[in-house]
Symmetry: C2
Subunit: 342 residues, 2 copies
DNA sequence: ACAAAAAATACAATCGATTGTACTAGTTCA
DNA sequence: TGAACTAGTACAATCGATTGTATTTTTTGT
């Protein structure tokens, strides 16, 4: 390729000085006189110089870039998290390389390698559903690249985590339903191998217990929590012997599917059945009635993850202590759960 | 930083050979014997070698990376577009650096510079709302970095565009409403300085014209098309002297806001007022009733943009001819517009 | 068996910026 | 005035991989 790009050597030659002086001037070193600095900067602008970060990063052994891996960019939670990360990184003068694993372990491994090969200074990731062990992160650890894992729990030593307090969220949601007068509350639960769903189930149980409502196994309905699942689950709900008056769904999507089905069957929400979801996806607020939900605040988790990473970057690899941040989610009360008209 | 990373020189030293041979072996050059190749690869794995792409890219003057700039990652259309770009790039062995301009020209300029400094091979972008001229792209042009601009129209010479045929989409939407029996159709329009909204308005007019329905200026309601705007607009609709029987909104969000208000006022959708939106956002399908809309297919536009970029990358800078691809959107007919019960 | 051709490997320059050290002016102060 | 500084620049090595050319080794053909 015909490469007309201007280098510091071109500037140096044009001014009859050494390239090291040009470099120092452009980095605003105080070893260069103001007069020469000005000359150099003017010439650089005149020639349209643009620093080659590849060369610079290679020499400095630092890229000012962090890598982010999420299962799927288009999922609302993740795109908000990315926004949060990007915002924080931008403020600190860092660039962000964003990748998606599409929930595939193999892709995740590839991405880790590529990011490492690109010498990113650190990585923030939410692991794929296929990821059961963390061997592919060992290489990074060896060369001192810090990692922050957010969203999904990761129980290996020396790892930085930013997690949502699923238990607390579920507890709050269920507690709210009870306080609105619900007794027979169904819980839509997700894949049991995922920590988050186990914890939401626990939160549900704990809230029942607090109010001395007996836990009934048959009121916990499992699925993958897709929209279609919501419909199927709602059917099941109507066929239960108990007369159900509340549903706490472990995510919004399933809750929305269920709401559609229930409304169609003439069930009034919240009067007959009150509903609370989990995630605060983009849809929940515009539903009819608007869905009460637990705000998973992706943006905030992204910011916290980035801050944690930058914190680690300022500590020498050997002196780092891993840290886990638990984010308390908040309950958003909307129409779908207001049984008591106030 | 203590840098223990393995280089080709370490491998060379360990085997008593030259680093150039190691480099060639790892690049599978046929100038290295199979025997040595195997020895080198084994040793590389043993030592946990990982190619330093900074050095490689610097030397080769090629990064195999493309940059993507969008106004906001968390917007559904953009995150789907990014997904499409990422998918295509991944298949071709390219990495993607994703950035968001947050609709600010200054940030957009910064990002362009950073991407250029990182020597990305090409850029795909959707320009910010503040962007009125394209001077900040001149530098890229000079050094032969191809750019593809998608989503928003860009009427400067030598630029690659991937656009939605807004006119056709709006025409189809309006035409559909008329065929469902609507006569007094309101159009929610957006900021007039944006090409897309002007074209959607034109499409609306053209459809009326085709059916010999007179165009009435007062049935075009302008706003920024936010959800709240939808509510305000719906109020206005009810106060119009004409009895409105259909609304074509230039985006989904405003349509959804309007639907909420209208339903609350006891208006039946679609029987009293039929509605069609534009975008196929994540929410439209789960509304009650589900909102008919124009599918903007971000994923497809992303793929097309990436393919166009890769096409340009294979042509020498001086021989490139710029190209514009127009994507025909498709109408998704859902309950909100089915006036005629079939 | 030996020259010529082919294969395999080594040498050395290079990409563009950074940075420790060495050098040359220009100041300061006794 | 001249020794001791200080400020400003230049020199040269370096980051890690790539690649054109030179050299050595092996193979081929007669």
């Amino acid at each position: 390729m015909e490469n007309n790009l201007i280098t510091i050597h071109d500037i140096a030659k044009a001014l009859g000085i050494d390239s090291s002086t040009v470099s120092r001037a452009l980095n605003n070193s105080n070893r260069v006189s103001l007069k020469t600095k000005k000359k150099i900067i003017d010439k650089a602008n005149e020639l349209g110089y643009q620093r080659n970060l590849l060369a610079s990063n290679l020499r400095r052994n630092k890229t000012n870039t962090i890598g982010v891996i999420v299962p799927r960019i288009s999922r609302y939670f993740f795109s908000s998290a990315i926004s949060g990360i990007e915002k924080t990184a931008f403020e600190k003068g860092y660039n962000v390389i964003i990748c998606q694993s599409l929930e595939q372990l193999e892709r995740e491994e590839n991405l880790i390698n590529t990011l490492a090969a690109n010498r990113v200074d650190g990585i923030i990731m939410s692991v794929s559903m296929e990821t059961l062990n963390y061997n592919h992160l060992d290489g990074l650890k060896k060369n001192g690249t810090p990692i922050v894992i957010f969203d999904r729990h990761c129980d290996i030593p020396d790892r930085n985590n930013v997690l949502l307090d699923d238990f607390a969220g579920a507890f709050e949601a269920t507690n709210h339903l009870i306080e609105e007068g619900c007794i027979n509350i169904v819980h839509f639960s997700g894949p049991k191998n995922l920590n988050v769903y186990r914890n939401r189930l626990k939160g549900y149980k704990a809230a029942l217990e607090k109010h001395e409502i007996p836990f009934r196994e048959n009121l916990v309905l499992n699925s993958h929590l897709m929209q279609e699942d919501g419909i199927t689950l709602a059917e099941k709900v109507l066929r239960l012997p108990e007369s159900i008056d509340g549903i706490f769904s472990a995510n919004d999507v399933a809750a929305i599917g269920a709401m559609q089905y229930l409304k169609q069957k003439g069930i009034n929400i919240p009067k007959d059945i009150a509903m609370v979801g989990f995630s605060n996806g983009p849809t929940s607020a515009v539903m009819d009635p608007p869905l009460s939900t637990i705000d998973q605040s992706g943006g905030k988790m992204g910011e916290l993850s980035a801050n944690l990473l930058f914190e680690q970057l300022q500590i020498k690899p050997l002196e780092r202590e891993s840290k886990t941040i638990i984010v308390k989610p908040s309950l958003l009360i909307r129409e779908s759960s207001k049984k008591k008209k106030k």
